[in-house]
Structure formats: C-alpha cells, structure tokens
C-alpha cells in the first residue's frame, strides 16, 4: 500500500510513564490501547489494523503508545467478549472495537467507560461508546454506486442488484439510498434485486439467472465484496465484457483481474487502513483528554489531516473511495 516508509518511533517506557501530566493539547504517550476487530484472521481487519498496511497499529506506534490487536476467532459476541474483558483486566487505557453485536457487548463496555477507559468503535458501531468512526455514510455508499453505474451505461438502460442476504441491514439500507439516488436518472430502470447470500457459488448462479432472464440488462450493482467478485467472474467472457457493466463494493485484490481486463471499470469501498488509522488517532486524542466526544471538537489525524466530531458522537472518514484502472495497483488488501 502506498503509505511510504514507516518512521521508527523510539519510546522509552520510563519517560512514558511519567508523561501523564501532559502540556496543553499534547498527547499522552505509553497508553495501553487494544485494537479489537470482529475476529482475527479476517483480511479486511488485518488491513485496517496492521503496521504494514498503515492501519491502527501504525498510528499507535507513531504516537508512542502500546498498541496490540486482540480478538476472538469467530465473528460473534461470545468469542469477542472474553477478549474485551481480558483487555480491561490488563489495564487498558483505550479500546478500539468493531462490534460483533450492537448491544451484547454493552454491559462490559459500559463498565469499562465508568472506569475511565476510552471506547472507540470503528467499522461496526455499538450502542455504547465514546466515539464511532464511520467509514462512509449509507447515503454516500448508495449514491456513489448508482452514479458509477449510470455513468458507465450512459444514463440509460436496465440495471439489477446482486445483494447478500434478503435481511442484511447494511445491504437493505444501501439499496434504499440507491433507489433514492436513481430518481436522478429517470432512464435507468432497476429491474430486479437478487440475493447471493454472500456465497460465491450462489452469487454466480443468481447473476447467471439475471443474464438469462434480462437479455437487455446494461448494468449490475453488487454492494457486497463476495457478490461483486462472483458477478465479475460470470461477466468475464467476450459475450458480456464491456456490454454488461458492473460496479459495487469490492476489495482491490479480488477485483484486480477484472479491472485489468475491462470487465469492471470502477468500484467503490473505503480504505480500511485509513479507517483503522483514524480510529487510533481519535482514541488517543480522547484518552489523552486533548478532545472530548462533543460535536464540533476537532483533531488532526496524521497523514489524513483534520477531522471534526459530527452529530451522535461520530467521525466520518469521508466519501467512499473509488478504485479504477489508474489507482488499483497501489493497493494490496
């Protein structure tokens, strides 16, 4: 990933311990900060958290904090909770969490906040935290996908959506905003929404079904990384390449081949490393009492620049990032 060389930060823990009486707006060093993704071994979170990719742990290292990534092995509250409790016992100053459940973690997180531990959520919010780092707004995600497909099909023709499961909250919210954005393009008709269950083989079949039943289909939006890669593998033949356009949310590594051969022109996602990096800065700012979580508070997050706390104690990373032929090779996740 194109984030340059990591500058080594030398922190002597003897001084770090005494640095608590920080001068005005200076950040406290030597804080114990635990980064807790939904589960370990998930490439999305590995990118968001690692030093190598420029994620949360890099920011913590540069700020002179003691950062560590911990979590369970499965994406469930029962797997994540014991880890959070252990981190609190280990004397955490701040927790950066992607919640496996909006409410199940709350009794534990509430007691942590009562003890003065800063709780910042990223990627997936919970009902109990000081600050949520939002990767993108649902409006932003819905709008960018419709704008991309409309441009590719020259503002006219039939489109369809390959979603994940029929009851997925995120997917349905995004689809709702897509329908809203579609009002800007009266000649673009959404003919069908199909569900691939975030399973490669099923997503391939539903895409095939679309192509067989709508021969005039001009474009497909798949707002899920599994769905877009599966749909791309179906369209990656001379019969469909360039004739049926595809966009949605994807990861650069999965989509590289299809962007290179012209099956896909552009797709969107946020940059997970930037998300983790921003979450780490926000957590350290809060834990150092340099800012509060009130709306209007602002801080500078290293390479990403200045951010302001918005309504509902959230910080927005920014508009979704659009990957295309010209930039996709700069990314590796």
């Amino acid at each position: 990933m194109a984030f340059g060389v990591v500058t080594p930060v030398v922190t002597t823990f003897a001084t770090a311990g005494t640095a608590l009486a920080a001068p005005h707006h200076a950040l406290v060093k030597g804080l114990k900060v635990f980064v807790i993704p939904k589960n370990l071994g998930n490439s999305y979170f590995t990118t968001a958290d690692s030093v190598k990719t420029g994620g949360a742990l890099l920011a913590l290292k540069q700020l002179g904090e003691i950062g560590q990534e911990t979590s369970g092995t499965t994406d469930t509250p029962s797997s994540q909770l014991p880890v959070i409790q252990a981190d609190i016992t280990k004397g955490a100053n701040a927790l950066i969490i992607s919640g496996t459940d909006p409410s199940a973690l709350c009794p534990t997180l509430d007691s942590a906040m009562k003890k003065g531990i800063t709780v910042v959520t990223y990627d997936s919010d919970t009902n109990c935290r000081d600050l949520f780092i939002n990767q993108a707004t649902p409006q932003g995600i819905g709008a960018i996908e419709v704008d991309l497909i409309a441009k590719e099909i020259h503002d006219a023709g039939q489109i369809a959506i390959v979603s994940a499961t029929i009851d997925d909250t995120n997917q349905n919210t995004w689809i709702r905003y897509m329908k809203q954005e579609l009002k800007k393009y009266p000649k673009v008709k959404l003919v069908k929404i199909v569900y691939g269950n975030d399973d490669t083989a099923t997503s391939v079949q539903v895409t095939q079904g679309l192509l067989s039943s709508y021969p005039n289909l001009k474009g497909i939006i798949s707002p899920t990384t599994v769905g877009i890669a599966a749909a791309a593998s179906v369209l990656d033949t001379p019969k469909y390449r360039g004739k049926v356009q595809l966009t949605g949310l994807g990861t650069p590594n999965e989509m590289k081949k299809y962007v290179a051969d012209g099956t896909v022109q552009a797709f969107a996602l946020w940059n997970p490393a930037n998300l983790g990096y921003l979450a780490a800065y926000a957590a350290v700012e809060l834990a150092s009492h340099a800012i509060t979580n009130a709306q209007g508070q602002s801080f500078v997050a290293g390479r990403l620049g200045k951010f302001t706390v918005g309504p509902d104690h959230t910080v927005l990373l920014g508009p979704p990032f659009v990957f295309n032929k010209s930039n996709i090779n700069n990314f590796n996740f």
Binding site: A201, Q208, S212
Partner: protein, 349 residues
C-alpha cells in the same frame, strides 16, 4: 436392508443371463425416468421463459453441473459399497485453495502440474478416510463426518483470513470452464467422458462388480472371497482423488477462493446420487444415473433463478425429489426381488 438384484447379477464372470437383462432394463428405465423429469422441468421453464433454452443459459447449466457430476461419480463408488463419504466438500475446498495458491507461489507453473497437485491432495485425504474405514473398521458415516470437520479446519488454519484472487490465476486456467463448442463447454464433454469410463468400469470389471456385491451384502461378499476391505479402501481413495480434481476445477470456475469453497456440497452430492437412482444402502445404481441426478438438480436450480422464484423452493424441491427417488427405489427393489425369485423358481423346475 439388502438388495438382491445386483447380488444376483454380481457374480463375476457370469454370462449375461435373463436376470441380468432384467436388471439392466430396470437401470436403463431408471435413467430414462430422470431424463423424463428433466425434460418436464425444461419444458415448463422454457414455456414460461423461452430464454431458458438459449445457448448461453444451457452453457450456464452445464458449467454448474460439472463439479457436482464429478463429485457424484466418486460418491457413487463409495455408496455402492454401502459406505458414505461426507468429506467431499471439505476435500474440494482444501484442494481448491492449495492448488490455486500454487500459481502465485511457483511462477509459471504449468496448469497440468496444478491439476496433479489437486489430485494428490485428494488422494491423500481419500487415503486417510479409506484407511480409517477399511483398516480400523470405524463406520464411514462417523469417519467422514469427522474428516469433514478436520479437513475444513485445516483449510481455515492454512488460509486464515486470506484468499486466492482471480488476478493471481493465469488466463488459460480461468478459460478452462468457459471455452465451449456451441452451448456445450469442453469441460462438460470431458466430464461426460470420465463418467462414461466410470460406468464402463463398474459394469465390466471384476473389481467394479465386486463393489455392488459388497453393497448388497457385505458379509456374503466377504465369505465369497471378495477382498472387501481393499475394495472399500480403493473406493474412498477414488472419491477423494475425484474431489481433489473437482477442487482445482472449482478454482477455475469461480476465480476467488477463500476457506468457504465447497462448503455444504456433501449434502448436494448425496442428493444427486440418491435422485440419480443409487440405492442409499448400496448394491444398486449407476454413475450415469448419479451424473444425471446432478444435472437434474442443477437444472432445477437454474430454472428457479431464471424464473425469479425464491431459492427457498430450490431446497424444498430437492427434498421432494429425494423422497420420490427413495420411495421409487424401494418399490422397484420389492418388485424386482419378487420377479427374480419367481424366475429362479421357474428355472429350478
């Protein structure tokens, strides 16, 4: 439960007799029955949505069938000998990832070498299953249920959160499933050829016939001098090897491989085998029937997607077909037993 039809017919080296002709006829009728059901589904789907029978959609159906047809071939060998291989989906997943991963590890590795590696992984897994079943004499349902989890766990451990992406696979490899002559992919022809070979082996080779004998009555087969352990072991090794090869094909078809490849396939494969007329307690059935079963399930699946019917119905119809197939088998077995008994009484007099 015993099914004497194949046992009566399974004596190696006997000349085609009246009973053999009768059994052959029944098998052929069974296969024709599947083709009939298939024709009805295609006709109904095509009358609602004529594009169901256009060449592109037929190509889709074939490409979705090949992997299941191959797995059904391996499963049939095992089921005929009254055993079950539930680990095929996990073997497929392991082979899909490890073989596809080679393309990025070994620069310029020939595609044939990758297929050999997939085959070897499958052979390895099949050998583990076969040894535990044949040597340690643990029931295969338990053994392969265990290896279903163990091979999948191994897969998850090796892959972690990673995946093989299409960009790391050579174009020639990804083109394997899509290149075709008209509506029929070359790959489907190759798989049809492999199934035909399997059918020939089971019909005409002594060791093939012995699988039927073992499935009809394991104890009698052993007393008759058939090396049952060796035959069952070989069936598991073959099933594993075929699943290994299917894994490499899975990688070529889908291009993106993570630790969920082939998840839950074992049940679809068993369904294809049963719908294809292979007796779930062994002893009767053909690989052509099993492959047709896979084709039937894939066709129904595709028809529902093309007609825009909820995929909930897909599983419900699969279930219905299984019940119908098993009831039909039972009915045929009872009738055939009676017919054969009557015939041998006639011969005796």
């Amino acid at each position: 439960m015993t099914s004497p039809l194949a046992w009566a017919d399974g004596q190696p080296g006997t000349a085609p007799s009246g009973s053999r002709r009768l059994v052959d006829l029944i098998f052929r009728a069974r296969e024709l029955g599947i083709i009939g059901v298939l024709a009805v589904f295609v006709a109904v789907a095509a009358s609602v949505q004529p594009r169901f029978v256009d060449s592109q959609n037929i190509k889709f159906v074939f490409s979705n069938t090949v992997i299941f047809a191959l797995l059904a071939l391996g499963e049939t060998l095992v089921v005929l000998a009254r055993n079950y291989d539930l680990s095929v989906g996990s073997v497929l997943g392991l082979s899909a990832y490890l073989s596809a991963h080679l393309f990025s590890q070994v620069h310029g590795i020939p595609i044939a070498a990758v297929f050999l590696v997939g085959l070897a992984i499958g052979l390895g897994c099949g050998t583990v299953n076969g040894l535990i079943v044949a040597v340690a004499r643990v029931p295969s349902l338990v053994v392969t249920l265990a290896t279903l989890y163990i091979f999948r766990a191994l897969d998850v451990l090796i892959i972690g959160g990673g995946m093989v992406v299409a960009a790391s696979l050579p174009g020639g490899f990804l083109a394997i499933p899509t290149s075709s002559a008209g509506a029929v992919p070359y790959l489907a022809m190759v798989v049809a050829g492999v199934v035909a070979l399997g059918a020939y082996y089971l019909r005409s080779f002594r060791s093939g016939r012995e699988l039927y004998a073992i499935g009809s009555n394991p104890e009698a087969a052993r007393l008759a001098g058939i090396p049952t352990g060796k035959r069952v072991f070989t069936a598991f090794v073959a099933s594993g090897a075929i699943a290994g090869l299917a894994g490499v094909l899975w990688a070529a078809v889908y291009g993106t491989i993570d630790s969920t490849a082939g998840y839950g396939y074992e049940l679809t494969v068993v369904a294809a085998v049963v719908v294809g007329g292979v007796n779930i307690f062994g002893g009767s059935g053909t690989v052509i029937g099993a492959a047709l079963g896979a084709l039937l399930l894939a066709t129904i699946n595709q028809a529902l997607y093309v007609l825009g019917i909820s995929s909930f119905w897909d599983k419900a119809i699969d279930g219905l077909l299984i019940v119908v197939a098993i009831s039909l088998d039972h009915w045929i077995t009872v009738r055939l037993t009676a017919a054969l008994r009557k015939r041998s009484l006639q011969h005796a007099t």
